[in-house]
């Protein structure tokens, strides 16, 4: 979202730059500081991840990834994302719809609460679930009696990820739908369209890029979440380890190739996310320009 807000002034200021030409040495200095930082803190770590992953050759890399524990971590990560992204998409749409289209008591409270997962430390978020569903927790006794395992099991990981990622879609949609207003939807209704048709034919086409953007961020976080998941997972290899957890466990066991090979997958995911994010931002910005006409 920040880059949307920033990219317009930048393009406008390109003309001003001619009037505000700084001396060459200053420009060179500022540019090299910026580029130096990017190399030191972004590119270099990425290269090290790849170098370490391939330090014992391509074969070792492939076999590290083919290991059952790594495979299970990849599967669990995919499963988590596959479940949480659709659920939070539905939740985000519902929340954004309720907040932008209805007037009700406690609306501002709901808007604030949506942001809660962003303001709470992920470790605390994980702990909440342990306190609720752990063996000493509020529902622990009842769960044990009915033989339902949530903490130190897959359901706990999914619950914690759901909690952590639920603001993404809603946060993205609320300002967009506020800007859009409800007149087009009302027009569709007055033309005889049902509520569902109005949503699919009028609302969705107008918010689709924002929605995809929110889903993408939600997905990236769901796959990369460490803190909250670490608290509820119990680190059982092959059972409750997600990819980020697997990176840590392998590293602690001095299995650097496995650790960095897993990390390289996450890094690859980050790069793909970044590219998609840029494309979506570009599309969204184009839509907003249309909107402001």
């Amino acid at each position: 979202m920040n880059s949307i807000a920033l990219s317009q002034p930048v393009s406008q200021s390109s003309r001003q730059q001619q009037a505000l030409v700084d001396p060459f040495w200053l420009r060179a200095l500022l540019i090299s500081i910026a580029v130096g930082f990017i190399i030191l803190f972004l590119i270099l770590p990425l290269i090290i991840v790849l170098l370490e992953a391939f330090s014992k050759g391509f074969g070792a890399y492939v076999s590290a990834l083919a290991e059952p524990d790594t495979q299970s971590a990849i599967r669990l990560t995919l499963l988590t994302a596959l479940l949480t992204v659709p659920m939070n998409t539905v939740f985000g749409l519902t929340a954004a719809w309720a907040i932008t289209r209805f007037e009700f008591r406690g609306k501002s409270l709901l808007t604030t609460l949506i942001d809660l997962p962003f303001s709470v430390s992920p470790v605390i978020s994980g702990l909440i679930f342990v306190l609720l569903f752990g063996s000493q927790g509020w529902f622990g006794h009842w769960l044990a009696e009915h033989d339902v395992k949530i903490i130190f099991a897959v359901p706990g990981i999914i619950l914690a990820t759901l909690f952590i990622t639920f603001p993404f879609v809603a946060r993205e949609l609320i300002p967009l739908m506020q800007e859009m207003g409800s007149e087009e939807e009302e027009a569709a209704l007055s033309l005889g369209a049902s509520g569902w048709l109005t949503f699919f034919k009028i609302t969705l086409p107008n918010i689709k890029w924002g929605l995809l953007y929110g889903m993408l961020l939600c997905n990236a976080r769901a796959m990369g979440e460490f803190g909250a998941v670490s608290v509820v997972s119990g680190h059982i290899r092959g059972l409750t380890n997600t990819l980020p957890l697997h990176v840590e466990v392998s590293y602690n066991e001095y299995d650097f190739v496995a650790s960095f090979a897993s990390a390289s997958i996450l890094a690859g995911l980050a790069i793909v996310t970044l590219i998609l994010k840029t494309i979506l931002e570009w599309k969204q910005q184009r839509d907003r320009q249309e909107l402001s006409l």
């Binding site: 007149e183 087009e184 569709a188 007055s190 033309l191 086409p205």
Partner: protein, 346 residues
Amino acid sequence: MSIILSDISKQFGTFTALNHIDLEIPEGELVALLGPSGCGKTTLLRIIAGLERPDSGRVLLNGEDKTEHHASHRGIGFVFQHYALFRHMTVFENVAFGLRVKDRKSRPSEAMIRKKVHTLLELVQLDWLHDRYPDQLSGGQRQRIALARALAVEPSVLLLDEPFGALDASVRKDLRQWLRHLHHDLNVTSIFVTHDQEEAMEVASQVVVLNHGRIEQQGGPSEIYDNPVNSFVSRFIGHTNIIDTEQVDQIWLSSSGLMPTDASQKVAHVRPHDIEVVKDAEIPSQAVLKDWQHLGSLIRIELVETGLQHFKNPIYAEMPNERFKQLQLDRGDQVAVKIRNARWFH
């Protein structure tokens, strides 16, 4: 289709938007809901369309109670103030929308849809824009497309919310006439909301004046203008001079011909064209001509006190251009005033 509203009330928090509205609109009329902003006119329109729910009261269309019917089942065409065109669809698809969302039984064939949309676009004289997107159109074009879209589903009632509000003056003038003619051709019962009394008088066959959520008066334009029922309507429609008899000298009143017929009449409303201005050395002057403005066929004259008299506000008189030239009036002249007609309110 006739529209009957009975006892409609609507509250927004502590603000009363509509206060027990009863209104009957006969079939085929072109009605203006006229009032200052915040008088509840748009809310009333949205309640008829089903976009807003009344707190109490019924909405009857053609004698049938539609209060509980969803907006999509009322058969009402609604034109929004800011057009609300679907920005991701072409002009053609915008107009076709209402036909495409019909259920399978009543949906016309693709060929029928094409034919109908093009007929409608020809009706609003914009068929040549059919493959454009809304953001490529001017305000007046968008407004006409919005109208074509609303007409596509053959509504029995057409509602327009400030239809010319966002347009510039010359386009507005053209569209007013055009709407009047269109209504004449289609003869669909139509209601439009406006805060511009000139627009209401020019376009509508019936005018409903609203204020503070209540109906002040309903009637034809000339009736509203010639026989306003109260001081609000008289002030809101057309120009009116308000003369408080308690603040003006009695001699002035009798010499200008403005005499109340009974004691309860305290405030006179006088239309500018009901004031005759005479320049005659024989008659003692009653006012000074401070300024005059050219309004085309009419001249507006601003009259102020001579020193003996005290008016709260200047008095405005209007006379035809020719007469003004005949009288050879000019700024600073001492003039006599004759009031031909006045309406009394207390």
